[in-house]
Point group: C2
Chain length 345, copies 2
């Protein structure tokens, strides 16, 4: 089957959903909205930034003079820990439940003008350590059953502050997307007594066409079922249900892979490449979750240039996601890109 | 349960998924991306527009001097009718199938400077008639099993041409989103021998708090499980599996409801309100589909003003959709808005 010529649907066995691939459509001219270029000229400290060290936030709190990573409660959290337990039900068609949770913000570095691809691997390793610590502390609370770690990067991704940072939303329920992945992995585990992603990784490492790079502990690849034009995934070679199972070497390897992937991203259109990225892993509900093989996904919106993105609208919202370039072509483009950041040359 | 104070999750029984509602979060200040205002000053005929009557399209074809509605094959269709039938399979984890289909473009009016809320009900009725005709003709082809009718409006929704138009993507497979709705409706039908949406509508008409307006044949409401800030739905009062079952009076009533809802939308922020909208209905696979109750959904992205939208990123992509204002509050705001277009005052 010619993936680069024929419109086709691909199956995502992790979420049990489909994507429509229309590779011939990449030729379509673009006359629509053009995004603003990211402003890359920033000072190392911005007195107006509520994430910079020593500055005062909206609620009057003062950030410490942190030197690596700084984590605090989101001043505008979508989830609150003191929400009373309530349920609203009227027949089968009206169902709501209050949700308890915690919102955290993680400043990745005091340097206002850095982003992950421009940080040192040691600096990124400190972010990884903070994630593990947060996962452990939040996950230990009995009203927290799932911890979503993520990074929104770039104005086009709704990120309101360019200071390098990520978020954690931890909550009592298990959200839909990780739950889908859990169900699919559990079925596979029950059937084969093997990890779905370990088997997938084995095949991808044989096929090679979607692999971007690997280090001792991680593989970076464009998944077969990628939705976003340059979607990618970091998968640990060893099956682990949660990030807290990583050894120190694995944490270093994750920092290395995170940096290398995002350097390639920046180099693609020579711009600070926007994305939403996040970790899917086992819930913190006290169960072993042997089925889980945690992984880190990257959903970047840009399609053709620093200013032309893919819109997931109309058909995508109403029917299913659609992409215009094959995963194999995207992987080939990303694989060939330098691992030296364009700004440092 | 206080829907306007407590963070909660609501269940969507049509798609069997959840939305996180964080009503207290509407107070959050916005420092992020601001959208461009829609350019409302357009000529009635634009010589550069490939949808205007008499103009030549990219492929050299000349549009006729149409007077109401004009439908043609999309010059850059994502689906093609001559795709060979092929399948790619490697174990359980790699599965792809070629997909056949047709892409159509529907110009709603020759007037380049109109939008649905500014068109006459007669003009919109002609659009409804064209949808029914297309659904019938496309649905009759044996390689077409599902017909997705939709409208992307506004640059912010990835729409590259402000000329009033919609699209149809018709294909051999049944896409995920309508399939979810089909499965949920089929379960409900099997259990109760009643339409899920008819039962839902009955309750909403009693409760009234989410109803925007009704006419003889349609109800406009903000669904209990709305994801987008001002998401709405037009539901026919009579259970019909597909739009082709509408009587002439019902088609007029649909045109009336489509106009009234979009006028309210434009009046909300006194701007040409962007959205993706589309019809979910029975597949054209030859089966009766008694479970289906067709409906028309509207997904508009604006949140606080003509230039500040809701971003479905990070948490939403990785976990589940999240909204900052309750469906009830949105409904109250929309219900109170005038049905006279702000530009006509
Ligand atoms: O077909 P258009 O208007 O050029 O393109 C727009 O609608 C399509 C269908 O919803 C999307 O796939 C595109 O991303 C969007 O830009
Ligand atoms: O929390 P922030 O960065 O202000 O807001 C951003 O990320 C959130 C979580 O993905 C989204 O809900 C918001 O729509 C987005 O603007």
């Amino acid at each position: 089957m010619n993936f680069d010529e024929n419109p086709h649907r691909r199956y995502n066995p992790l979420t049990e959903s489909w994507v429509l691939v229309s590779p011939h459509r990449a030729k379509r001219p673009w006359q629509g909205q053009v995004e603003k270029l990211a402003n890359d000229e920033r000072p190392a400290h911005d007195p107006e930034c509520y994430l910079c060290a020593g500055n005062t936030r909206a609620n009057g709190e003062v950030n410490p003079n942190y030197e690596q990573v700084y984590v605090f409660d989101n001043d505008f959290a979508a989830l609150l820990k003191d929400t009373p337990d309530e349920k609203y039900e009227d027949g089968e068609l009206f169902l709501a439940k209050t949700e308890k949770g915690v919102g955290r913000v993680i400043c990745f570095s005091p340097a206002h003008n850095l982003t992950v691809p421009e940080m040192s691997e040691e600096g990124i390793r400190a972010v990884v350590d903070a994630w593990v610590a947060e996962y452990n502390v939040l996950g230990a609370k009995d009203f927290i059953n799932y911890v979503q770690i993520f990074e929104n990067k770039g104005f086009v991704m709704g990120c309101s502050n360019p200071h390098p940072h990520g978020q954690i939303w931890a909550q009592s329920g298990i959200p839909d997307e990780p739950l889908k992945k859990q169900n699919a992995q559990a079925k596979y585990w029950a059937k084969h007594n093997r990890s779905l992603l370990a088997d997938y990784l084995e095949k991808e490492l044989e096929k090679k066409e979607r692999v971007l790079f690997e280090n001792e502990h991680f593989v970076a690849l464009v998944p077969f079922w990628a939705v976003w034009p340059f979607e990618a995934m970091l998968i640990p070679k060893r099956k682990m249900a949660r990030i807290s199972e990583m050894t120190s070497e694995e944490r270093d390897a994750l920092a290395n892979a995170y940096k290398r992937l995002t350097v390639k991203y920046d180099n693609l259109f020579e711009t600070s490449f926007p994305y939403s990225a996040g970790i899917h892993q086992a819930p913190t509900d006290g169960l072993p979750h042997e089925e889980w093989h945690w992984h880190f996904v990257f959903y970047p919106p840009l399609l053709r240039s620093a200013t032309v993105k893919k819109f997931m609208v109309g058909y995508e919202m109403l029917a299913n996601p659609q992409r215009d370039i094959s995963a194999e072509k995207s992987a080939a483009i990303l694989r060939d890109l330098s691992e030296v950041h364009y700004k440092s040359i």
